[in-house]
Amino acid sequence: MNADSPAPAFDLDPLDAPLTSQPEPPLRPAPPDTVNFAQAPDAQGRFGNYGGRYVSETLIHALDQLEQIYAQLKNDPAFRAEMERDLTHYVGRPSPLYLAEHLTAQTGGAKIYLKREDLLHTGAHKINNTIGQALLARHTGKRRVIAETGAGQHGVATATIAARLGLECVVYMGAEDVRRQAANVYRMQLLGATVVPVTAGSRTLKDALNEALRDWVSNVDSTFYIIGTAAGPHPYPQLVRDFQSVIGREARAQCLEREGRLPDALLACVGGGSNAIGFFHPFLSDADVDLIGVEAGGLGLTTGQHAAPLSAGKPGVLHGNKTYLMADADGQISATHSVSAGLDYPGVGPEHAWLKDLGRVDYVAVTDDEALAAFRQLSRVEGIIPALESSHALAYATRMAADMDPQKILLVNLSGRGDKDMDTVRSIDGLATPTIPTEQP
């Protein structure tokens, strides 16, 4: 993209490779300087060795259909115009790039900018993707949409757009998350969605995804599955990345406008990885821009109580794609832990797995406590209450910035606002405060 042109709200990249069979990808990806990031995934939906389409036969037809409709519409002027209109007037794009002067001063190093996705309608980046997928759903003629949700942000974003387009909406949510995120459950219900608590397995996001897949396989003719993260079977990782890339395109143009140059580093939290891939993707070919994905370190990587598959997992197959996973010695998927429900997932989008192996993105982990400290700090010094998810990226950014020259520039994706986390943080504070009386057994 030309540095001086405004960032378009929708990707103008040409179509991906045609749907003809291609030779198997090489076992090891090429080194980064020869990688054409815009060409991934390939026709099989592969990012290097990752991605693909690991689903039961019944769903292949629906995925083929989705791939065709997206290929048709992604360059269709009317579709793009509708998408841009919605992103501008309904979602509130572009989101500001805010120089966090007080945080920068307190940190004492590189300048820290925040990409304010928290200011979007529904309070997080998730809406960028649900708008896009819901418009695709409408073009398929399917009148029923389903979604999985962890913290509830993707469920709320899906329920929101379903309400606006008059689509029936069913959201699967782990029973444990229903309990942790009661306010979001009520928001979805107010928006007219049916929230189905999932009691199987660990009763969290991964189980909600399983249940959504079961619904989809049973109602595949009438139902469009709106996946919330850049994972799942092809073409979902690509779709979600493309819809979320508006974040990075805007940030790139805004940084050039404000600073006259590209940033030195970008930071984003990584659960499934949709905000991070959308933020990073327009910068992948800018070799001088460091990209840092921050995973949920939970109680610490050595405890096993975390949700950091890129930092501490290995490649496997889950939810339709090959990627880094957390699993036990038998390959059974592990229960994860994070203070933030939105990062509490044992897998990660396949493009991140590829970018890790290529060395293009560094993946690190931040503990619950570090994220909570960053959450409190930003609230106090900037008057911005961040989502606990985004607080992971903030925590690592302040740590990094402190050791950097003040001329350096860091961009942090503030992917969501923290209103949804009030109950979580309040209960942590309550437990930590001795003045609050406790019930005697």
Partner: protein
């Protein structure tokens, strides 16, 4: 000759239909599995599908999901399953066994290590629910190297070009999933199955077994008129789950399968 081919050829020669029975290894407990497999055979099962439990069995309905959860609570993994199979083979060298499960436990162990150990333990094939032909080539290669069949699913939504592609890759038999849904779902539409089977037969000479939605002697008989075999899964697993003890569960499974066998042979 692979036991699956031998068994299906014998049945075809006799004009009989294959009874394929699915249970989850380690459900209801580790000690019951091997005697249960012998029970299946004694009650007339021709091919065993031995379920490999997975933490995220996204193609299963609630009955088989719970069986996977019980098996995992009993700490069953591929290593334990290979040991069970080895023990089963000591007294049953003939009945074909297909390992049915999901990709990740196999990926975690390594494709070739899996195929080698499965062959060594006496398995005859594998059916991996989340490995459609696009993703199956590496495992397919490992299985063939060790003389095992790769059994593929066909669905009501499988397009004619895919049907031909799958038919080319598959060996042993084809497993037609008779409805759009998860295991143990609603009753099947025999007329729709008949139409689809005609298309499958035109694309492949492999025997075709039909599963999903077969829950009693009547539905088994109706499907057996069209297919080369019927697969019974949730109906067996549910009988094991509802019994007061593993022994009573085994007895219920034997009674039920004997009814199905009679229906198939009548």
């Amino acid at each position: 000759m692979n036991r699956i081919d031998q068994t299906l050829a014998n049945l075809a020669e006799q004009g009989r239909k294959a009874l394929v029975a699915y249970v989850v290894a380690g459900d209801p407990d580790l000690d019951t599995t091997v005697p249960l497999l012998h029970d299946l055979v004694a009650a007339g099962t021709d091919i065993i599908e031995l379920g490999v439990a997975f933490s995220d069995p996204s193609a299963e309905g609630p009955i088989i999901q719970r069986a996977h959860e019980r098996a995992l609570a009993n700490r069953v993994g591929l290593r334990q399953i290979f040991a069970m199979l080895t023990e089963f083979r000591r007294t049953d060298p003939h009945t074909p066994v297909v390992l049915m499960g999901y990709a990740n436990p196999i990926e975690w162990l390594g494709l070739d290590a899996f195929a080698a150990a499965a062959a060594e333990a006496g398995a005859d094939g594998a059916l991996t629910v989340d490995l459609p032909p696009e993703e199956a080539a590496p495992l397919d290669h490992a299985l063939r190297t060790h003389g095992l069949h790769n059994v593929f699913l066909l669905a009501p939504t499988t397009s004619p070009p895919r049907l031909h592609r799958i038919a080319q890759m598959a060996s042993g038999f084809l497993y037609y999933v008779s409805l759009k849904g998860v295991t143990g779902a609603a009753t099947l539409d025999i007329a729709a199955v008949e139409a689809r089977l005609a298309a499958i037969r035109a694309a492949s000479r492999l025997p075709v077994c039909v599963g999903f939605g077969i829950k009693d002697a009547e539905s088994a008989r109706a499907v057996a008129r069209l297919a080369d075999g019927v697969v019974i899964g949730s109906a067996l697993v549910e009988r094991l789950a509802q019994a007061d003890s593993p022994e009573q569960g085994r007895a219920a499974v034997r009674r039920f399968l004997a009814e199905i066998r009679t229906a198939l042979d009548s």
